[in-house]
């Protein structure tokens, strides 16, 4: 497919007046690596790519673009899964890749100040000598950067107990579209005025460009232990999750995988997963030594009483890591058994798990597309991976339709269209399902407060009301249009 691309020699000259030549990319082969993020079904070459290395350079770039009304899309490591960093044909792609300095590890106050291009895992590595770590651990943590984590409010397998990015950051330095430097939040536990830190977190690059992040660090637990339980009925596995929580235990991690995911992960990571199980649960307990022993006993008993066919505790740290390796490599593992896969990211109230999985299974048969389910069971975040072959005519379209139905089902049962991957470009139409026009209008008002000209990552995250009207017209529900008050096109 030949992509269209615009050029702007005047802007190029202005940027090159203060940025080194290698920091302004214009050649088609140089900008190609930036044409997509982790969701590669969406591709677009940017007009040009800039790679600044100082805050002042970012400010100058923003001012240049602001006065010329040129849109800007910020990008971290490009591991996002919703097309949030998809470039614009007539826009500047602002890469924060050169902002990779750890500025300070403040042990006395258990916090770290880092530049946005620092990798998630690198923060924990730098803090480790002090017995500290940064808690959110998205599966992509070896590659994804903290700036992107903030923009997407990334989660991970430990967020039931330790929270999402929003719970683990203290302060941001942000450049507005107009080039102004704002400090949002503070090094203290709260700050005057509105909680703009919460608003910025998960705002998908729509409100400002993050140039510095101060994160909270936690003491590394004395001990962590993981229990693996196998079930011959996925519904029983779901019940067991509820039983653990009802017993007053909050595991550090509580993950579920179904048969297809188990088999793919086992082929890939040789984690020792039982291939004949319909579902497995991985339940990690952490804390002090004696506390972990106490909880392990309790959890084993609950799992056995809940009908587990096998309950296994990792015998040492190596085996614990291996159990997790299987889970954390589930996505690439599924990538090996299918030419393509499409990862969904809905969250549901846990009690709806069985209903949702049955429906997904029925649709899987209807569409003829296999689904592997990976589930952050503790917090209800479901990742169905739809297996397809993009080279078969029409299969991507059918996959996307299947995916849309899954997300709409998540909303119907009281959940959400995205738990941790963000809306980006991918789920923009599903926003019309989850939110009413008055709510979308409120989101647009927030966007306008930060970026009145609408130049930061335009077209992502929040659909226009017209877009929803058009989407609604295609999806007439029970004979009624979702937004009858809007003019149709």
């Amino acid at each position: 497919m030949k992509q269209r691309r615009k050029t702007n020699p005047e802007l190029l000259g202005a940027l090159r007046s203060f940025l080194p030549a290698e920091s302004v990319l214009d050649d088609i082969e140089d900008v190609r690596p930036f044409e997509c993020d982790g969701l590669s079904v969406y591709k677009q070459l940017p007009m040009l790519v800039v790679l600044p290395e100082t805050v002042e350079q970012v400010q100058r770039i923003m001012r240049l673009c602001y006065t010329r009304k040129i849109p800007v899309v910020a990008r971290g490591a490009g591991t996002g899964l919703s097309g949030g960093a998809l470039p614009l044909e007539d826009g500047v792609l602002l890469s924060l890749a050169k902002f990779k300095r750890i500025i300070d590890i403040d042990v006395d106050n258990a916090m770290a100040t880092v530049q946005p291009g620092v990798r998630n895992l690198a923060i924990s590595e730098a803090a480790a000598p002090h017995g500290l770590y940064y808690a959110p651990d998205p599966s992509s943590q070896i590659a994804c950067t903290i700036g992107g984590n903030v923009a997407e409010n990334s989660g991970g397998v430990h967020c039931l107990k330790y929270g999402l990015t929003v719970h683990n950051i203290l302060m941001l330095k942000v450049i507005t579209m107009e080039g102004e430097l704002l400090t949002i939040g503070s090094e203290t536990l709260d700050s005057p005025g509105y909680d703009l830190l919460a608003l910025m977190t998960g705002s998908e690059g729509m409100l400002g460009v993050i140039v510095e992040v101060t994160v909270k660090l936690l003491a590394r637990p004395e001990r962590a232990q993981v229990v693996l339980a196998a079930f011959d009925d996925i519904e029983l596995a779901g019940e067991a999750v509820g039983a653990i929580i009802a017993a007053g235990i909050i595991p550090a991690g509580l993950e579920m995988m179904d048969k297809l995911a188990i088999s793919a992960a086992e082929d890939f990571a040789h984690a020792g997963y039982p291939r004949d199980a319909q579902a497995i649960l991985l339940c990690e307990l952490d804390g002090t030594d004696a506390e972990v022993s106490e909880y392990i006993m309790a959890v084993r008993n609950l799992l056995t009483a809940g009908g587990a066919t096998e309950v296994r505790t990792a015998t040492d740290e190596a085996e614990r890591q291996l159990f997790w390796k299987g889970r954390k490599s589930a996505f690439p593992a599924v990538g090996r058994i299918s030419p393509d896969y499409y990862c969904m990211d809905g969250t549901i109230p846990r009690r709806q798990l069985s209903r949702v999985l049955k429906q997904i299974s029925a649709w899987s048969a209807e569409y003829g597309l296999p689904v592997a389910n990976v589930f952050h069971a503790g917090d209800g975040n479901l990742h169905p991976l739809i297996l397809f072959n993009g080279n078969k005519a029409g299969e991507l379209a059918r996959t996307e339709e299947f995916g849309r139905r899954i997300l709409q089902l998540c909303v119907e049962v009281g959940g959400t269209i995205t738990g941790e991957h963000g809306v980006g470009m991918e789920k923009i139409d599903q926003m019309c399902v989850q939110f009413k026009p008055v709510e979308l209008a409120q989101f647009h008002a927030i966007k306008a407060a930060f970026d009145p000209a609408g130049l930061l990552n335009p077209g992502k995250a929040v659909p226009t009301l017209h877009r929803c009207a058009e989407f609604g017209a295609m999806q007439v529900h029970h004979g009624q249009l979702p937004h009858p008050e809007l003019e149709r096109f």
């Binding site: 017995g131 703009l196 002090t288 917090d379």
Partner: protein, 350 residues
């Protein structure tokens, strides 16, 4: 249990049409906090009831006028709690006031703040429209995080109608260990604990003694008990409740009570007055003869900020920088274009 949202909506629609200010209230327990808001009262105390609570989901949804004590009683019945340990400051405390004022108790540095536990809300905005944000699930990144923006906004962006919160199991066991020490030593000790994997959920220096609360499973508390110096504090629950509700003898002083927020390991500040340190040193309560501008100047040099929490009628909140104030005003206009809600309560013109 009653839903009066349509009555409330009518009142807001009328106020919007006439551009008349509204003063949001329910139990009145936090009326002392902030500047005096203008306008006629819009009373949420009749908008009550727990709408949904399933202990296995760890989520509770209630109307904003529901008494905090009622919610805590229902949670306790299932062995659960509001983990941010909200202060009540009076019998009439409601969920809405708790979230609107964004206050958290002694557990805050260890388990999170009020806003950390907010999952979603239903809002009546300044145009009289009812909108829902967030939801009843733990992980949700669809749309901007409006429900957390509203937490601590002191009602200036709209009327909270209902709120969903994450709740947590109550720890099976808890003990408080205290030892006498100086302020310098207490700060250093509480800071060192941040790097220790102990189940600490409260740390306070009351001027004479450092109190460390440990909570968790029976085994966790027994094991940690031996690692913390000092004696077991008898009747610890009433100590922490007195701290949370500002009922300890320290808080019986005359004059303005200042809330000084600094990084927890900040050394004692050279400010004359009486100090009590909560939140492991991150939240410091102060009675001082110094004027607020001098206080703010000195605290700002340590990277902190000051609220005149009780006993002041002006300059209550730390001033915002010019660009931040502009941003706040634009946000306010986006929620409440006629500027009817809690006018001037937080900042003049907001």
């Amino acid at each position: 249990m009653s839903d009066i949202s349509s009555t409330l909506q009518q009142q807001v629609l009328q106020a919007f049409a006439n551009k008349t200010p509204l003063n949001i209230r329910a139990g009145g327990s936090k009326a002392f906090l902030g500047h005096r808001a203008e306008g006629e009262a819009i009373d949420l105390s009749g908008h009550t009831g727990i709408i949904e609570y399933d202990p296995r989901e760890l989520v509770l949804t209630a109307r904003s006028g529901t008494r905090l004590s009622d919610i805590e009683a229902v949670l306790a019945g299932a062995g659960q709690m509001l983990a941010f340990e909200p202060p009540h400051f009076g019998e009439g405390a409601t969920l809405g006031g708790t979230i609107a004022s964004g206050l958290s108790g002694p557990r805050r540095p260890y388990s999170g703040s009020a806003r950390d536990f907010v999952l979603g809300c239903k809002l009546l905005n300044g145009r009289g429209e009812i909108a829902s944000f967030g939801g009843q699930v733990m992980k949700n990144v669809a749309g901007y995080d409006v429900s957390r923006l509203l937490t601590g906004a002191h009602g200036t962006l709209g009327v909270l109608l209902a709120i969903s919160l994450k709740v947590l199991p109550k720890p099976a066991s808890s003990q408080t260990i205290s030892h006498p020490c100086s302020e310098v030593d207490a700060i250093a000790y509480m800071s060192r604990l941040l790097c220790k994997p102990y189940p600490v959920d409260g740390a306070c220096f009351d001027g004479e003694r450092c109190h460390i609360r440990i909570s968790g499973s029976e085994q966790a508390v027994r094991e940690t008990r031996t690692r913390i110096p000092g004696d077991v504090l008898p009747d610890a629950d009433s100590f922490w409740e007195g701290l949370r509700e500002q009922q300890l003898p320290f808080f019986k002083r005359q004059g303005t009570l200042y809330r000084v927020m600094v990084k927890p390991a900040t050394r004692p500040l050279a400010i004359e007055g009486s100090w009590l340190l909560d939140w492991g040193g991150a939240q410091r309560w102060l009675y001082s003869p110094e004027d607020i501008d001098t206080l703010r100047h000195k605290v700002a040099q340590a990277g902190g900020h000051v609220t005149a929490f009780r006993g002041a009628d002006k300059k209550i909140f730390q001033p915002l920088s010019a660009p931040m104030l502009t941003l706040h005003q634009r946000l306010k206009a986006g929620f409440d274009p006629a500027n009817i809600f809690n006018r001037n309560r937080l900042y003049a013109g907001l």
